[in-house]
Amino acid sequence: MVETGHYLVLSSIIFTIGVIGVLTRRNVIIILMSIELMLNSVNLNLIAFSNHLQDLSGQVFAIFVITVAAAEAAVGLGIVIALFSNKETVNVDEIDLMKG
């Protein structure tokens, strides 16, 4: 029997890897993939607590998170395609139309 704390530590490690990926990479597709990784680590948290408390609500919420991740991937990749056909790049630091 693995303690719930171990799952939480694993989940926080995966979340941090995702954060580092979002902040360091230039390629917008890899940034989207890192976001998927972060969403998945949250799922692991929800399911670990669902198992710990013997309450199925956590699993239902994990399914909702997967739904939102699918919607986010579809729209995000649509934006990437539109961007590539207009600006011929997928690097985030070359997309500076707003000059913020």
């Binding site: 303690e3 799952y7 926080s12 597709i29 993939m33 990784l37 799922n43 692991l44 919607a71």
Partner: protein
């Protein structure tokens, strides 16, 4: 047995997550992410969440990652491989990431004593023989009916949005 399996899966998961973030080639990155997601599905099976594990494999690996691979093929991969892969802020980002990791693990370790070991909550799994998929399904269609419908509307809106975004204007 469960412990050994957990550590094997956790090792695979962490390794492939790091490979996803560090790989030069986006295709390699996507394949690493697929492996990481499969290991995550294995951990869900360990946690007795069979339905979510199956959904993870079907939706993430079968749907989302195939979509990612299609988009990687549509944009220019050869060019991406030769370019610099990190943005200028990577040193700050790594420091921030390490700090975040330390904070999270600190709070988890501190909080472990506070977790109640007793089963609480309205949707208890009392009978051990109840099937996971069946229980999740009945919960989804009774208590969480409204969020379920909202999720379906969200998917519809996302689909229309993706079509409109990629449509060529003429």
């Amino acid at each position: 047995m469960e412990t050994i399996l957990f550590y094997i899966l956790a090792g695979i998961l962490v390794t492939f997550s790091i490979l996803t973030v560090t790989a030069h080639n986006p295709v390699r990155s996507a394949v690493s992410l697929i492996s990481a997601l499969l290991a995550m599905a294995g951990i869900f099976f360990l946690l007795e969440a069979e339905f979510v594990g199956a959904v993870q494999v079907l939706v993430y690996v079968g749907g989302i990652m195939v979509l990612f691979l299609f988009v990687i093929m549509l944009v220019n991969v050869r060019e991406m491989e030769t370019q610099r892969r990190t943005s200028r802020q990577w040193r700050t980002a790594v420091v921030l990431g390490v700090v975040l990791s330390c904070e999270l693990i600190f709070f988890v370790v501190r909080g472990t004593d506070i977790f109640s070991t007793e089963a609480v909550g309205p949707n208890l799994i009392v009978e051990a023989h109840t099937r996971n998929t069946e229980s999740v399904g009945s919960l989804l269609y009774s208590t969480y009916l409204l969020p379920f419908e909202i999720a379906s509307i969200l998917l519809l809106v996302a689909m229309v949005g993706a079509v409109v975004l990629t449509l060529k204007e003429r």
